[in-house]
């Protein structure tokens, strides 16, 4: 009321005659008629099936070998030993033999696998301190609360690396040996470094800055409860592979998505003769330093040898998924065709 309408002309309030405001924007409206839909369906079916076939062939050319060593061979002894918490610190070695029936051509990846190990539990995953892992001094001494209850040991010393993930680090080690038919066993050489993401090794994980030794840098911190050696002595062979930038630690710290997972342990070095073409067929043995207890969670441990295709390891699911999808589309297309031919008069009526 009382409001004076201010207008500048007789048609001051006439709306704009623009396509947008009048909702007349040029528009494409897809029609669901046989002539438009069926070609798309058939085309899609063909593409999917072809892709599926191609992928299937590719996957067929990959090789994979799994060896469960939890209670295998001599490891049964270690398995029993690990059941006793008191014996936890005692080391235990065992050997598992296996046979590779066909040559693994090309790059061969050596994984260790864990079954039924839930690295993806919410609280487990949260139990780490990124700041500590990039070597921040402050976090080194006072870990984040996310690490609780693995932030401090019983003496109140800060743990480095803190948290449940680091604490539960897989600590078996493997030595792969090739037993050629001609007798002399050959240790299979593995790259034990370069198995991490570049960004992990160089960005996410850094040692605390130090001028002297790594040990001094970690002074005032305690090793994780379950660890047998401090973080700066993880790799006795290679001093530069110690501390937070230890490759095995980094690999472990990348939490697996599923309770059954494998993690890269090493890559075959193909520099020398028997292995230049990959892993030759024949008998192999793995020497295991058996530390990691799995019996508490009905877990299994395994060793996996695998070659990869351009789109990943040996996994037949994806090609099958393509084939099935392609098949379904094809069936749908046929059903539609039949329907159109049989009762499509109504629909056609609209077209005319």
């Amino acid at each position: 009321m009382g409001k004076v309408q201010v207008g500048t002309g007789p048609f001051a309030r006439r709306p704009d005659n623009s396509a947008f405001k009048q909702q007349r924007l040029p528009a494409w409206s897809p029609s669901l008629t046989p002539y438009t839909v069926l070609p798309v369906f058939y085309l899609l079916a063909v593409v999917c099936v072809l892709l599926g076939v191609w992928l299937f062939i590719t996957v067929e050319n990959t090789h994979e070998l799994k060896v469960d060593y939890t209670e295998e061979g001599t490891c049964i002894r270690c398995f029993e030993l690990r059941k006793d918490p008191i014996q936890a610190r005692n080391s235990c070695d065992c050997v598992v033999n296996f046979n590779i029936p066909k040559t693994f051509p090309g790059d061969v990846f050596f994984y260790y696998g864990l079954v039924n190990f839930h690295q993806n539990l919410r609280r487990y995953m949260d139990s780490r301190d990124e700041d500590q892992l990039v070597g921040r001094k402050k976090s080194l001494k006072s870990p984040s609360s996310y690490c609780e209850p693995f932030a401090h040991d019983e003496h109140g010393e800060p743990i480095a690396p803190c948290g449940a993930i680091a604490n539960s680090m897989f600590n078996d080690s493997f030595t792969l040996t090739y037993h050629p038919p001609d007798g002399a066993e050959v240790p299979v050489p593995l790259y034990r470094r370069g198995i991490t993401w570049y960004t992990d090794k160089n960005v996410k994980f850094r040692n605390p800055p130090t001028n002297t030794t790594l040990q001094l840098a970690f002074q005032g911190t305690a090793q994780p409860l379950f660890w047998q050696q401090p973080v700066y002595e993880l790799d006795p062979a290679d001093p530069s592979n110690n501390g937070f930038i230890n490759d095995d630690l980094i690999v472990w710290m990348r939490e697996a998505a599923f309770p059954n997972f494998k993690k890269l342990y090493g890559i075959l070095i193909r520099a020398e003769t028997p292995f230049s073409e990959g892993l030759p067929a024949g008998n192999y043995s793995v020497n295991i330093i058996y530390n990691f207890p799995v019996q508490y969670f009905q877990g299994r441990k395994e060793v996996v040898l695998s070659t990869v295709s351009w789109f990943g390891g040996q996994n037949h699911f994806l090609p099958i998924a393509y084939l099935v999808t392609g098949g379904l589309i094809f069936i749908a297309a046929i059903v539609l065709t039949v329907v159109y031919v049989k009762v499509g008069r109504d629909g056609k009526n609209m077209e005319e």
Partner: protein, 1554 residues
């Protein structure tokens, strides 16, 4: 209190202590408000001013201030439960035991939502602030103490106690007590349109004590004190008194108060003192904020939100139990990966399950769509924007477009089921146009006038073309002159009014100047009928001649005399106020002044013989007005003064006469101001009337040069051809009331000196009051003839949808008058039952009238009303018209706007007692059930027969007529019936005991017409229908009387037309014209509904699908509540990544184009039946969502199973996949793709990758606990990622796409058919639409939801009627139906057939249409061949010769229903009809079809008698024959056959005046 400090001096000298007392007492009592003049107090010392406690005139409608905004707005937002819920969840995240995300991050969505809403609120508040500021800074003249003159001030500076001066056409800034007016009567005219919507002028009076001030009012001398009520919101009440210095007190009434927001009209200047200001004004107190309405869709949505909560809880509970069991399986030996509580203590499985439950609520929170509410609001705002912007809803005439005043119920527009419409001003233009008249039995058809009106319409359309092509004024001018050249005989006086050629132009002009209420040239200019004009001239010259030769006037031939009297009556029998357009009333003044006869003495004085000798033609110059003595003013003011003052009046009157008379009867030569009269200024006179039809009559009379030039309380001055100005002494005005339905004036005729009563009223009452011709001589014969003819013409007018009024007069002898006057004065003086006595007195006067003639006024339908109603009806909407108008008019208009179909039966309910009403309802219910029981059962057969023929575009008929009809109610079907009920009966019917029956009757009828209903009844009807039938209701109206109905309905629509803003203020949508309702509902409503429904469903799907992904993962992570989707994605997925496309689709998607929607209104029914969003659809969407999420989860799962993939490297592809799937799903659901859809989808994907890339590369440590550093970068280099992205969405969407394809081709919904039509090339489409319109249109005319009725409407009737005619000649066997068949009239069937033809000939060029029609009728024939002839035989036999002769001799074949009542069927009228009426009809645009051919009239006898029912039926023979037909066909037991004959008594008790 006022008396104590009433004296200004005393107030001034009052000490501080008294002031304190005053203040204290004020606080205690506070019953009244005391207002002093501010002049007495110094501005600087505000403390002295007793008015300082009152609110000033600054208004502030804003809710917030800068400081209070945040707390207040938050407080308001937390009233919404959803917000509280989300804040609760966000806070839960801060609890370490249960937290799922980074706590700060969890706040983000809530903060985002709250801030979006806050910004919206802020913007709205800012807009209010701006409009407040604009209003506050309007100017007004306020008396300044220091400058001793009126100075301009802002409105906001006005305070209580200020004196303000108001000029003509100013808006009142506050509630002001009128102290002075430039008007000689000390009146001030105001227009209150903004308050109550009434455009007629209201008079306000200067406070009594200030009336007799001779000099200009001087505020400095004012020293009275006003005491009045506290501010309240009652517009019609104001009480108080004013105490003067001398201790005299005067009462103050509402007539003294000018209310804020009104406009001063016709008064040059008025001065008043401000009583209430600002927020305390009555207008502001009445100004309530908009209501919050919840739309049906939203209600439905809330149910599903509730289901979502249930699903969420189930999922959480499932997870919690799962987690508990998972923990339990490990027993006491905890695995290394099971992290203890931070304190290092072991959590029992139960406790950890409980914690997990809370955690899961946080993780799954996305399922409850937080952004849904915001998205809906955004989409609605956009929808409102588009509705606002629609050019087709813009009215050029008024420069106004549709306003959405309620922002949150746009989608309700798409779900309407019942429309309740006002009539006047809504369906019609509320512009009364004089169309034709009959005087003394001679019809003057006003052909030229009809042409003129037609021309206006033509010109309007031409002008629109001009405008759209950028045409300019000159062209239009030339057009006009061309047209006016065609018009013969334009009177000089009207010419000047045709400044502008077009209605549009004129209306625009009038709106710009805001001067006149009813003055479009179409109404003002009446082209006189040449014949009648000749007669008027003739008559005038004869009279002049006679008067000069002092002959007796009764020598003039009676028909001329009637013509003369007719125009006199038109001119003076009204309450029209004359004014000059740009000047106040004062200038047009003022001839003589005398009060109407108030006392017997007065009567005796006035009618002494001596006075009769004096000249009668008084005229005077306007200068007379100013030098009249003040005592005369007193005598005029007595007019409206309370009767308690009558003694004073008498005293005054006794002193007066000599003086008065001298002026009154000063003999002036009759042609004295002939010149003056024709002066151009004269033409500028404007008439302001209480009702537009009064004005229309006055304008019509003016066209015949009988113009009203002045009206005073006691006299009317008329200018007549040849005679000049005549002044009629106005003795009494018996105003119009709705029971008498007439008004009368008693005047003394200046020429004959006879006391004459002119009466004008509804034909139904006037015709009964006409003195029957007693003598049998030629005069009596002539009278009888006139009566008969007039009645005939009246029927014709009514059939044409004109408002008819009869004009009659009566001459009283002095003795008769004296006798009547005595009793009348007694009645006036009576204390008890005064109203009734006055009523009886009026009845006594208005008897034995002499019929002069009748007029037909057209209340023109607004453009496109019939088409709109037809379209809305085809859209399945039930339209009820609730009007305050009388029954006859309402029915006429209902026919005119195709609300009632001449072919359908009409049930009229008129009862005058509760019992009678109950009986009537029962009877009609029985009648309906009996009549339609068989037809509905036989429908399927007919429908099947019909369907075979029905091959083209076929729209499956919706199952039930009304979607809401459920349970027992579903037995009611809508029949081809009209129900007419009047206000009184409605009052009974709305009683608790009868309302169910009333509804049962009403809902079976196709259209319902409630006449004479009060505003309260209107709202009660709406409420009843809304609550009982559970349907969506829409009320549309334009006036203040529609406000209650508008407020009650689900959607209220106001017409921003002539009757002010009241309805608009109360409405949710304001339309400039009724016809825009069609597009608003059919197009915008449909779009809004389908868009929003689809968006909501999509939202539920989207959230469920996304959340389910996480749920599946719980099976692989020990139900620990971890998510493979990074927390950022999880939280922003809804808010950002997937938000825009759905908003765009929700705003822009058009399932069917606007054109098709309008051409096929049937498509609207999908909204009525909530087809886009049914409860099962929610579950279907949920199931689909779960399926899709399964696919999206398990394809990546198996693809990555047994690999070394880490959580986020696996989770990120899933997120991406889900995004793709969700967007593609939207793509499937999107019907039209504009570039904006493409852009929004591209934007969404781009946004996701951009955010992901930035997020994954920005900071390796910041986003604990998750750390997806460099994940997406690596994934983009991984072929597997792309392979997944291809196959997963395809697999996920395959079922839905397949379903959509099947739906589109196998069982297309009407919507899809509409869509497919859209895609066709224009011409083919048109062809299809024509076809379907022909088919469906004819079906729709019956009733859209039930095309099964189709076979019955045309082919069937036609078929039967032809047989009927055939059997006339061969009258054969007799059946038991014989007795009542006598009433039936063959004319009906004949006329029906006649009507049939034009409908069919609409598409003559369409051969297929015709062919199909033919075959349709053939089908009908086959189905009903033999029974038809049988039944027809039965009636043909008894259809006597009466019927036959009648049908041949009637002047108007269309008029058949009334023929029976007129006693002389043959004779004089046969000669005049065909030539006169038939050519004219072609000019009429809104001519309705024949009034009902069949009607059932249920009237209870007048009170006293036992309640009985009388059926007046003209056509039920056919119906009965139908029934029997159907019975035989459908195999229904004949025992159920309704025995039509028994139900009604043969003689029609009352004839319908339709």
């Amino acid at each position: 209190m006022a008396r104590e400090i009433g004296d200004a001096g005393a107030a001034k000298s009052s000490t501080t202590t008294t002031k304190k007392q005053h203040k204290k007492r004020k606080g205690k009592e506070s019953k009244t408000r005391t207002v002093h003049s501010n002049i007495l107090y110094d501005h600087a010392k505000g403390e002295d001013n007793p008015n300082r406690h009152y609110a000033n005139n600054k208004i502030k409608t804003t809710k917030y201030t800068l400081l209070s905004f945040i707390p207040k707005n938050l407080f308001e937002q937390f009233h919404r439960f959803a917000n509280v819920y989300f804040v609760f969840i966000a806070l839960l995240n801060f609890v370490p035991v249960v937290n799922a995300f980074q706590p700060e991050l969890a706040l983000a969505p809530v903060v985002f939502i709250l801030s979006v809403t806050a910004i919206k609120d802020l913007w709205e508040d800012y807009r209010r602030h701006r409009s407040d500021k604009e209003i506050n800074h309007m100017d007004c003249l306020v008396y300044s103490r220091s400058e001793r003159r009126y100075v301009e001030q802002y409105w906001k500076e006005i305070r209580v106690g200020d004196f303000i001066r108001l000029r003509c056409n100013e808006i009142l800034p506050a509630d002001v007590l009128l102290l002075s007016s430039s008007d000689p009567d000390r009146l001030c005219h105001i227009e209150t349109a903004t308050l109550d919507g009434e455009t007629n002028l209201k008079q306000r009076q200067v406070v009594r004590s200030f009336i007799d001030l001779d000099t200009e009012f001087d505020p400095l001398k004012y020293n009275s004190v006003i005491e009045c009520e506290k501010p309240n919101n009652d517009l019609n009440r104001f009480r108080g008194y004013i105490t003067h210095r001398n201790g005299r007190r005067d009462g103050l009434y509402k007539d003294n108060l000018l209310l804020r927001g009104c406009t001063i009209r016709n008064t040059e200047e008025a001065v008043g003192i401000v009583i209430y200001a600002g927020h305390e004004t009555k207008a502001m107190l009445n100004n309530n904020g908009p209501r919050y309405k919840r739309s049906k869709l939203e209600r439905q949505m809330n149910v599903d939100v509730f289901w979502c909560v249930i699903i969420l809880l189930v999922m959480c509970l499932f997870s919690a139990i799962g987690h508990g069991l998972w923990m339990y399986q490990y027993g006491d030996k905890r695995p290394v990966f099971d992290v203890l509580s931070p304190e290092g203590t072991d959590l029992s499985p139960v406790v950890s399950a409980i914690y997990l439950f809370l955690t899961m609520i946080i993780v799954f929170q996305v399922l409850i769509p937080i952004s849904l509410f915001v998205s809906i609001e955004i989409v609605k705002i956009c929808q409102v924007f588009f509705i606002h912007q629609d050019m087709e809803l813009y009215d050029e005439e008024t420069d106004s477009h549709l306003q959405c005043r309620a922002l949150n119920i746009t989608e309700d527009l798409g779900q309407m089921q019942y429309i309740f419409s006002d009539k006047t001003g809504t369906l019609t233009e509320n512009k009364m146009v004089f169309r034709r008249c009959t005087v003394a039995g001679v019809e003057y058809s006003h052909d030229a006038n009809a042409r003129r009106i037609a021309m206006y319409q033509e010109m309007d359309s031409e002008e629109e073309e001009c405008l759209s092509h950028g045409g300019t004024l000159p062209r239009r001018e030339s057009l006009c002159s061309q047209h006016s050249g065609k018009v013969v005989l334009r009177s000089q006086s009207t010419k000047s009014h045709r400044r502008t050629g077009s209605r549009a132009e004129a209306k625009r002009a009038s709106i710009l100047s805001k001067h006149t209420a009813f003055s479009s040239p179409m109404e003002k200019d009446v082209t006189p009928d040449p014949q009648l004009l000749d007669k008027v001239n003739d008559c005038g010259s004869q009279m002049e001649f006679m008067r000069f030769h002092s002959q007796l006037l009764n020598q003039i031939p009676p028909d001329l005399c009637d013509v003369f009297d007719f125009f006199i009556a038109l001119t003076i029998c009204n309450t029209v106020v004359v004014s000059s357009p740009n000047q106040p009333r004062q200038k047009v003044r003022r001839f003589e002044l005398k009060s109407p006869v108030k006392t017997i003495e007065d009567f005796i004085k006035r009618f002494t013989p001596s006075r009769l000798t004096s000249g009668s033609n008084s005229s005077s110059s306007s200068s007379l007005a100013t030098n009249r003595s003040s005592s005369q003013r007193v005598c005029s003011s007595m007019l409206s003064s309370p009767s308690a003052e009558s003694t004073l009046t008498k005293l005054d009157e006794e002193r007066l006469p000599a003086q008065c008379l001298q002026q009154a009867f000063s003999p002036v030569p009759p042609n004295y101001d002939q010149d003056k009269a024709s002066a151009p200024a004269e033409c500028e006179l404007r008439y302001e009337a209480e009702s537009p039809d009064e004005a229309a009559l006055v304008y019509a009379a003016r066209a015949y040069k009988c113009s009203l030039v002045g009206r005073l309380p006691d006299q009317v001055t008329v200018e007549l051809p040849h005679l000049g100005k005549l002044t009629f002494e106005l003795l009494h005005t018996l105003g119009f009331d709705s029971t008498r339905k007439r008004m009368s004036v008693v005047v003394r005729h200046p020429l004959t000196e006879q006391i004459t009563v002119y009466t004008k009223g509804a034909d139904s009452v006037i015709m009964d009051l006409i003195r029957p011709p007693t003598r049998d001589d030629s005069k009596g014969k002539r009278q009888r003839k006139v009566l008969y003819k007039t009645q005939n013409y009246l029927n014709l007018y009514a059939a044409d949808g004109l408002r008819t009024l009869c004009i009659a007069k009566k001459v009283l002898s002095k003795e008769e008058y004296a006798g009547w006057l005595r009793r009348h004065l007694e009645a006036e003086a009576a204390i008890q039952g005064r109203e009734e006595l006055l009523f009886e007195s009026a009845l006594r006067l208005e008897t034995d009238l002499h019929l002069l003639g009748a007029t037909g006024i057209e209340d023109r339908l607004q453009d496109g009303v019939p088409e709109t109603i037809a379209a809305l009806r085809r859209a399945g909407l039930q339209i009820w018209v609730l009007t305050g108008d009388k029954q006859e008019t309402a029915i006429n208009i209902a026919y005119a706007c195709k609300l009632l179909d001449p072919e359908e039966e009409i049930i009229t309910l008129n009862a005058d007692s509760q019992e009678a009403c109950a009986v009537l309802l029962d009877e009609s219910l029985h009648y309906i059930q009996a009549k339609f029981f068989c037809s509905s059962s036989a429908d399927p057969h007919a429908a099947r027969a019909f369907q075979q023929d029905y091959t083209a575009v076929h729209f499956p008929a919706p199952p039930a007529c009304s979607p809401a009809s459920s349970g027992a109610a579903s037995t009611f079907l809508v029949h081809r019936l009209g129900l007419v009920i009047d206000g009184r009966t409605l009052a009974y019917a709305l009683d608790k005991s009868l309302e169910d029956k009333f509804l049962a009757v009403a809902r079976s009828c196709r259209s319902v017409l409630c006449c004479r209903s009060t505003p309260l009844q209107k709202s009660m009807v709406v409420k009843l229908v809304r609550n009982k039938l559970k349907v969506m209701t829409l009320a549309i109206g334009d006036g203040a009387n529609d406000v209650s109905m508008i407020q009650v309905a689900d959607v209220g629509v106001g017409i921003s037309g002539q009757e002010g803003m009241q309805a608009v203020m109360a409405s949710d949508f304001a339309l400039p014209r009724f016809q825009y309702l069609q597009k608003l509902l059919l197009v915008h409503g449909h779009w809004c509904y389908s868009r929003l429904a689809n968006m909501i469903l999509y939202f539920f799907y989207k959230n469920a699908m996304f959340v389910a992904l996480i749920f599946w993962y719980q099976f692989y992570c020990g139900f620990s509540g971890s998510a493979m989707i990074d927390q950022w994605y999880l939280i922003f997925f809804n808010l950002m990544f997937s938000a825009f496309p759905q908003l765009i689709t929700g705003t822009l998607d058009k399932d069917v184009s606007a054109e098709t929607l309008q051409e096929l209104p049937q498509l609207y029914m999908s909204g009525q039946n909530s087809e886009e969003y049914k409860p099962y659809m929610f579950w279907m969407n949920m199931i689909d969502a779960f399926y899709q999420s399964l696919v999206c989860f398990f394809i990546p799962y198996f693809a990555y199973a047994d690999s070394d993939v880490d959580l986020f490297t696996w989770g990120t592809p899933i997120t991406t996949l889900a995004l793709f799937t969700i967007l593609l799903h939207l793509g499937i659901e999107t019907k039209t793709w504009t570039w904006m859809n493409w852009a929004s989808i591209a934007f969404s994907i781009a946004l996701f990758f951009t955010v992901a890339l930035c997020y994954n590369s920005s900071c390796p440590t910041c986003y604990s606990p998750s750390n997806p550093y460099w994940t997406i970068q690596r994934l983009l280099g991984d072929p597997l990622f792309y392979l997944l992205c291809i196959v997963t969405p395809i697999a996920a969407l395959l079922p839905r796409y397949f379903y959509r394809i099947c739906q589109g081709s196998l069982f297309p919904s009407p919507m899809l058919v509409g869509r497919q039509l859209d895609k066709l090339p224009l011409e083919i489409r048109r062809h299809y639409l024509n076809q379907s319109k022909m088919k469906l249109g004819s079906v729709g005319a019956v009733h859209p939801p039930r095309p099964q009725l189709f076979p019955f409407c045309r082919p069937f009737f036609k078929d039967c009627s032809s047989r009927i005619r055939h059997t006339h000649s061969s009258s054969s066997t007799t059946t038991k139906q014989k007795d009542k068949a006598g009433q039936s009239n063959p004319v009906h069937s004949k006329s029906m057939e006649m009507k049939d033809t034009p409908v069919r000939s609409k598409n003559p060029e369409n051969p297929t249409a015709r062919a199909r029609k033919g075959s349709g009728s053939r089908a009908g024939k086959q189905g009903s061949g033999s029974p038809c002839s049988e039944t027809v035989d039965s009636r043909g036999q008894t259809t006597g010769s009466d019927g036959l002769t009648e049908s041949h001799t009637l002047p108007y074949p269309k008029d058949s229903p009334h023929a029976g009542e007129i006693s002389h069927p043959a004779g004089p009228d046969a000669s005049l009809s065909p030539e006169q009426s038939s050519p004219e009809r072609s000019w009429l645009t809104s001519t309705p079809l024949l009034p009902q051919t069949e009607s059932v009239q249920l009237i209870s006898p007048p009170s006293g008698g036992p309640p009985g029912v009388t059926y007046t039926k003209n056509q039920e023979v056919l119906d009965c024959s139908n029934q029997s037909l159907l019975l035989q066909k459908g195999g229904v037991d004949p025992a159920h056959l309704p025995d039509c004959p028994k139900e009604h008594s043969p003689p029609p008790s009352r004839v319908n005046h339709l």
